[in-house]
């Protein structure tokens, strides 16, 4: 596989079209919910992420809307699929692992058990200009989590 094909793996192209979790959904009564709008001023990509958590600090849902490249949109889709049922701590652990992979410049063997479809983003780490695209939804989800209130 050439570098471009590693970047645009089929999983990523599929997610960029399926956009799991998009558009935004109304919040559910009784749950904690938080929202974050993130913007990449370099390319103009933007995303609004809404997360919901129950009283035991488990994510129950993530929904989002955004405008951006296939990498940023696919990353949001993958995260929206993965997030429900994770605890805050589990999410932060995966976030750290994902970020470590993004900073690896391609020297990384991702554990698919941990990252599921997000493992496909390993090819992005060879393109430093695209790392921000892949991180955008993760950053938004984390800010939304910290903002979460009833």
């Amino acid at each position: 596989m050439n570098e471009l094909d590693q970047l645009y793996q089929q999983v990523i192209l599929d997610h960029s079209k399926r956009r799991i979790g998009s558009p935004l959904v109304e919040t559910t009564e009784g749950l904690l919910h938080g929202e974050s709008h993130q913007h990449n001023p370099i390319c103009g990509d933007q995303i609004r992420v809404r997360v919901e958590l129950d009283d035991q600090e488990h994510f129950t849902s993530m929904s989002w809307e955004g405008d951006g490249c296939s990498i940023s949109m696919a990353s949001a889709s993958v995260l929206a699929e993965m997030l429900p049922e994770l605890t805050k701590e589990e999410f932060l652990g995966k976030r750290d692992y994902f970020r470590e992979m993004m900073r690896s410049k391609g020297n990384f063997q991702p554990d698919e058990e941990v990252l599921e479809d997000a493992a496909a983003f390993v090819g992005v780490s060879k393109f430093p200009a695209r790392v921000k695209c892949a991180m955008l939804a993760w950053v938004a989800a984390e800010v939304a989590m910290h903002e979460a209130r009833k």
Binding site: L13, C43, D45, Q46, C69, S70, R130
Partner: protein, 460 residues
Amino acid sequence: MYPLPNRPVTILCHGLSGIHDNYSEDHVHTMTGQPEALEALTAGEVERIKADFEILEHQVNGVDVVYLDSGATSQKPRCVYEAEQHYYENANAAVHRGAHSLAVEATEIYEEAREKVAKFIGARTNELVWTANATEALNLISYSMSNASLGRGGEAAARFRLGPGDEILTTELEHHANLIPWQELAFRTGATLRYVPVTEDGALRYELLDELVTEKTKLVAFTHVSNVLGTITDTQKFVDAARKVGALTVLDGCQSVPHLPVDVKALDVDFMAFSGHKMLGPTGIGALYGREELLNAMPPFLTGGSMITVVDMEHAEYMPSPQRFEAGTQRIAQTHGLATAVSYLDEIGMGRIAAWEEHLGAMLYEGISKIEGVRVFGPADAQRIGTVPFEVIGVHPHDVGQYLDSRGIAVRVGHHCAQPLHRALGVNSTTRASTYLYNTEEDIKALLEALSSVREYFGV
């Protein structure tokens, strides 16, 4: 005695020999700054020019680089950085101070550069102020005007004063460098910022000028060539409207000075800003043109050493233009590099360069328009340089740029520092191809070929 070598003022690149046109010192410009109808460069000449650019011989991602991002920054011929190196090796010293031979030599190089670049745009030598880039040049006007508005410069600076009720006019076409300094000036002085809108195609709505330019208008700032659309402004319409009410005119020449013959006197503007790095020169050097009487009346922006005559602990007297705007140690090597770039462009002839780029621009516009699923932006009937923005339907510009990069093709993606224009066009971002004198027809064909397979790659 220092072993001073022959002066490094003209180091011409070998590829140029034999390329001449009839565009010389007494060239004629039309009032809109358009090039005379000159014969375009030939393909053979472009190949020889290209050979002067080391970087264009390199490979990117295993393929020959096709550089179509000169709107962002141009590549530099060897003679430009060799001139800088030559300066550092043979004449480096602080200018306008020191009695030693190196200082004298450096000062001469610095001022000869000014003379050469001023002549290139049809200005007098003392009408050209060195700045870091066009952005700084535009900010210089903005901050000098707010200083005047605070009363600095006395009665001589009265025409630069702004206050509540006054208006600044710009356009929706501008890149942020010719927008934000005026927004800030309006905030600082209480003046109101207005703008000439564009149509949904991105054409300036000149018919609104009569309504928008009134007795309240004190300054009209507009671009000569759109950095996104590549379209050439009818500057005469702006100048006429501004003159009627006595407003100052500021022309953004970032995308015109590198690509078209430009004569500030024929254009009849009061100020013009441009950048060196977009016209084969080094980064870190740009210039502001201003009418002599205006520059001498305007209070300075940056202050400090080198711009004063008499200083005591309470106040200072300032030098006339251009020194009054050149505080501190200046970018001497860069001015020399830019002057060398100007010599290079002059020897080829701006009229012939413009004709070649008009040809490349038409190839781009027509070629991209024909590709299924790809849409070009900008009015179809406009005069344009070799700059064309487009959208591949269903594929984000960032992904388009990445795909093109894998084939060695460098283009710009994003909002190109012109968010309001993109909003007017109804998109967040575009992909932009922009040419220069070293681009060949093969470069354009490579782009067109690659573009026709983008949608298939992304499964659209």
